[in-house]
Symmetry: C2
Subunit: 349 residues, 2 copies
DNA sequence: GTCACGCCGGCAAGGTTTTGCGGTGACCGC
DNA sequence: GCGGTCACCGCAAAACCTTGCCGGCGTGAC
């Protein structure tokens, strides 16, 4: 029952004025315009005649960033699968750097207004346990979307409290398997080059890492963990801190992207990988096998995950089978250890 | 002047029927419904009530692929600039692999139907001189868009015959500068690891390459050029062919992405870079400085180019200054030689 | 052959949005 | 203080879309 009249009443202006705001016509005071727009964002306005846009064949893909190649890889895999199912994809980069950049929530609004039928969130904002001030999605943000009937699927966005289907790698197992690999090679001082502390995936990997270490009574204290921003620079900084402090003979990393920075920092210090330092990455980005040395890493099954995510979304979009037996909405994929050249037994101390 | 009447006429049905389709009411044959919908996608329908969408603040970004990190980098830079100007961006990956994937033209249609105000094409399809059969944009494709008043800007899409503003690097100069750098180091057999022959940028680089070689009377025949698909695999394959045939002491590459494959293939063959083989890339992707050895490359000024492109588009979107003095629509940026570790004088033969 | 039924067009009433026009008030120069 | 100008906004007419109703047409069943 939303119409101009209701908007007008809420904004305390006439219908004409709302219409003019909507049509960006001149003759409306900026202040009034803002008031109308703010009302409009509270109660999204869907003109009549937009019925056709209900079934648009378009879905939204939200990724946190593009500089880590794993996200373009996910985007491409999701897109290919979506195309096969007859959907076209709109990609949004939700955490683009730059002060004026838009956040996830703004993008979701925009996509909805553009008539997408559903969305796939890759590493959604909610996995930031403490989101930075001012950018925080209100607690009810995703819940509100759900209540509005927005169809969505998370990829690597584990959120037990939310009734959103989730396709995820077992991050904890990834941390565990990477660390076991190093332990079995004989390493005893194994560091963790971690992303920011607020990142849930990094926390889960850390849990796996410490579990693997404690099995053999190896040190798993916080002095063996270095947090840094995602990206090669962060990886380099984190491993530098670890090397200066506890001199690990091996490190695992939150991502291949960070691991690349680790490789670089080791090179800069004259440390040979894997002779002096073993490195394990995560994700298995396409470039991992092209590094020198080629990265040992835990592979996310990107295509399988993308397929599962898009299929689940398509399933929920299909008007015929919209209801679904309440059940396990989470699909967990096991990462796969890919041993390449960046790991070896530790140097004889 | 779009209204239900026009749609109805084009679809050969009555206004009532169109309205019923739009509102998903029963009593319309599926076949008729499809016909109306297809007309609707041809001439995007903007109900009066949709005036809000006339000025949507949304622009489309079309990139050919995401696996070469230069494209995510461009996308991010474009997006940041657009956000600063109050636009949000929708990203489309126009040449996603997979048979069912959508092409550039389909994406453009879809974006238009979703109400974008303008578009930035990065390396548009038109730069494929001979596009593969079946995917060919009809000759009039871009011209038709222009005639329809679609606002667009090309990045690296030099097309003198089309009245589209273009922001581009000087590809020919890039090829020239890279080759000169190698010539000055003393190389005399310099190969070109090129993308597909149909790629215009690769052709331009080749022109620069041969110009630089001919200045010194060095060989610039086609036996020194190896074409391969873009990507590391292509780079590896192309350099393998060159090494087997003419044994160059240095190569330049169509992209850093290909150069990474060259590095890998050299490593595989036990050739040390730069001792046995010098390599020059193009683009200066963020990872170029993290390779081992770090890549010498020609840097595209990505941020400046993105800024110029978005600003030009915004300028054309601004209703107040829509007209523009007819003039030079092309901005050419000089690539910058960044010397790192992958080039050195040739081995003493 | 007849009937039922689904589908579509025409019409008109009713609702919604757009837009031309005029009123109001702020501001400015005199 | 006065009149003029201008931006801004509401009124109301016009334009447009939705929807119910009915009739025509073709198809297929009986």
């Amino acid at each position: 029952m939303s119409g101009l009249a209701e908007i007008a009443r809420a904004a305390g202006v006439s219908i004409s004025t709302v219409s003019r705001v909507l049509n960006r016509r001149a003759g409306v005071n900026e202040e009034t315009r803002q008031r109308v727009l703010s009302v409009l964002s509270e109660m999204p306005y869907t003109p009549r005649g937009l019925g056709a846009l209900q079934r648009t064949g378009v879905i939204g893909l939200l990724v946190p960033e593009l500089s880590n190649p794993v996200f373009p890889a996910f985007a491409e895999a999701l897109e290919v699968r979506a195309a096969r199912l007859g959907y076209s994809s709109l990609l949004c980069n939700t955490r683009a750097t730059g002060s004026a950049a838009m956040g996830e929530e703004e993008y979701v609004r925009m996509l909805l207004a553009r008539g997408v039928e559903g969305m796939v969130f890759v590493s959604p904002e909610i996995t930031n346990v403490e989101v930075p001030l001012g950018r925080a999605p209100r607690p009810s943000y995703y819940a509100k979307l759900l209540a509005d009937g927005v169809r969505m699927v998370f990829v690597n966005g584990a959120t037990p409290s939310l009734d959103v289907p989730d396709v995820t790698v077992d991050e904890q197992h990834a941390g565990y398997a990477a660390t076991r690999h190093l332990v079995e090679l004989g390493h005893r001082r194994i560091g963790f080059v971690s992303g920011p502390a607020r990142s849930l995936p990094s926390r889960l990997k850390r849990a796996g890492w410490s579990a693997a270490l404690e099995e053999d009574g190896l040190p798993a204290g916080s002095e063996y963990v270095a947090h840094a921003p995602f990206g090669p620079e962060g990886g380099a900084a984190a491993v530098a801190a670890l090397l200066d402090a506890v001199r690990p003979t091996a490190v695992i990393c939150s991502s291949d992207h960070m691991a690349i920075g680790v490789l670089r920092e080791a090179h800069r210090r004259g440390l040979a990988v894997p002779r002096d330092l073993s490195v394990v990455g995560f994700d298995d980005i396409p470039l991992a096998s092209y590094c020198s040395p080629a990265l040992t890493t835990l592979a996310q099954p990107i295509e399988e995950m993308a397929t599962a995510a898009v299929d689940e979304l398509a399933h929920r979009l299909d008007p015929d089978r919209r209801r679904r037996p309440a059940g396990n909405y989470t699909r967990v994929f096991r990462p796969r250890l890919v041993v390449r050249e960046s790991t070896a037994p530790p140097p004889p101390s």
